[in-house]
Symmetry: C2
Amino acid sequence: MDTMRWSGGCLEILDQTLLPERVEYIKCRDYQTVCQAIRRLSVRGAPAIGAAAAYGLALGAFSLDTRDRRDFISALEKIAADLAATRPTAVNLQWALDRLLAAVKNSAAGDVAELKQKLLDEAHAIYREDLESNRRMGRFGQELVPDGAVILTHCNAGALATAGLGTALGVIRAARDAGKRVSVMADETRPLLQGARLTAWEMLQENIPVTLVADNMAGYAMALGKVDLVIVGADRIAANGDVANKIGSYSLAVLADAHGIPCYSAAPLSTVDLETKSGEDIVIEERPAEEVARPYGLEIAPPGMAVANPAFDVTPARLITAIVTDAGVARPPYEKSLAALFGRS
Amino acid sequence: MDTMRWSGGCLEILDQTLLPERVEYIKCRDYQTVCQAIRRLSVRGAPAIGAAAAYGLALGAFSLDTRDRRDFISALEKIAADLAATRPTAVNLQWALDRLLAAVKNSAAGDVAELKQKLLDEAHAIYREDLESNRRMGRFGQELVPDGAVILTHCNAGALATAGLGTALGVIRAARDAGKRVSVMADETRPLLQGARLTAWEMLQENIPVTLVADNMAGYAMALGKVDLVIVGADRIAANGDVANKIGSYSLAVLADAHGIPCYSAAPLSTVDLETKSGEDIVIEERPAEEVARPYGLEIAPPGMAVANPAFDVTPARLITAIVTDAGVARPPYEKSLAALFGRS
């Protein structure tokens, strides 16, 4: 199942809010529909958001009717700003938009039609490269997985969060493909239940044994010796190795540390933002109260209830055993190891 | 609102599964209906279960038509066994049944009708004493609450879990009544959402400021310095101070410890079981998978999903800063302090 697909000048986005009950694609013929799909989490997961935004910018470009290169770029930058504003935490969103804008600005082509095609080509490239990136991440990461491991994961860092395979789930798939017996414990991941709806579903489809738990059960499972390692994705990784990821990841890292269990984050280098020095510089998105208080429209809390709903948290680098990237595995100290993976050290 | 009430030979139990949307009482005219109400968590919370079971035993007694004292007691013991089997973890259930059985066995009355009345009187006494017990717990516990504290709590250890006021929430109420400005952060407490449905509702009714969070958000709130203390109830406390409580309490205690935040448990002495040496001896109830995978009948996970659903966990005594009881506050080492509260040291 494709997380998204380009078809006849239209970006079709799998509406993940309906999974696993219904498989429906949202047809985006303009960038505003892409913005909306990102904002309401029909498409989610840092790499998938990056690709969707890239296609969104291409869609926006096709709608511009100027033939003037400068006007075109100026309008493009406004569209990119709209797309970037949809969600603040995942850095791949900005990364993909910057990549497309740079491709246009660095292009020798003067013809706007050519530039439009260039944008679409670049969006295709981002999507295509992501799959290959996940494949590499899997190869590097699976070496960290012992045979017979029970792997706890949170949210969905799987095929549905990427162009395919996934980051954290890509590592799990690769471990299985390397002949290791692995099983998964999936946190349901309130409020939007990506663990229950998406991760559990992906693992079932792959015939990888998976047990669903409520988020508050993971710590006790660790105490009972039922978890061998924790692996999550990332929405942004700072230069010092601090990892922003789905809310609850921080608690898992503290719990893993308290139980002597390794805790990994898997993400492509496009998720590592060397401009972000530490987690303190990462903006955490606060999402609508209704996601917590009115899931599926159900009144699970009294009317007028005050709610906190941060979508992400930041895990300090000291709690992360290693970071699996598509360029290799980084170990502490991350300032050095991450920079080295970028070839900057 | 009464958690339960005795009216015209009938035990009316507030159906907490319908809160906060609907206020309905289940009319129990026989002990089987009480068993069912306990099993399906219409009534929950260790002290409330104890009281409900006591009334259930009285109801069962009234249905017996023997006039023979020995036959009567023998039938009563079978009913008590049925009631005790409804839920394995909360010790107040067995404690209340034992108290009623002892009252009958120790009674000089030979007349079965008198014994039946004795059982009902004893059930009334348990219910009445619980309110007073909560009042004392509040007085002792509120001294641990600093002015201005943000108090994180889990599940519902409130008026709805008891005959009134509550254990953990009783302490919060008492702190407010002592003139302290307090506010509450309530974990929603999956799978059955007692925090969202019951604790948030109780606090709103009391005009105590309360913010609802998903369970996986509490740790990050601690990291941000937004939590001053944690207080939870207990379903069983072992002689060494290990605390069995709603699943997720253990994780909160580990997280509180990692952040240097005090973590308290509040429970009457009837929840302390000196016969249970440590948490290892406590049976943890595993509840139906549907509670996690099919909340409100919604298909949030793929069909056929394997689920773990332990209703409780055990927090080791070393993570509990103090235990607030109706006989005073116990501090480590708990073997001594708890025994002292029973007047055994």
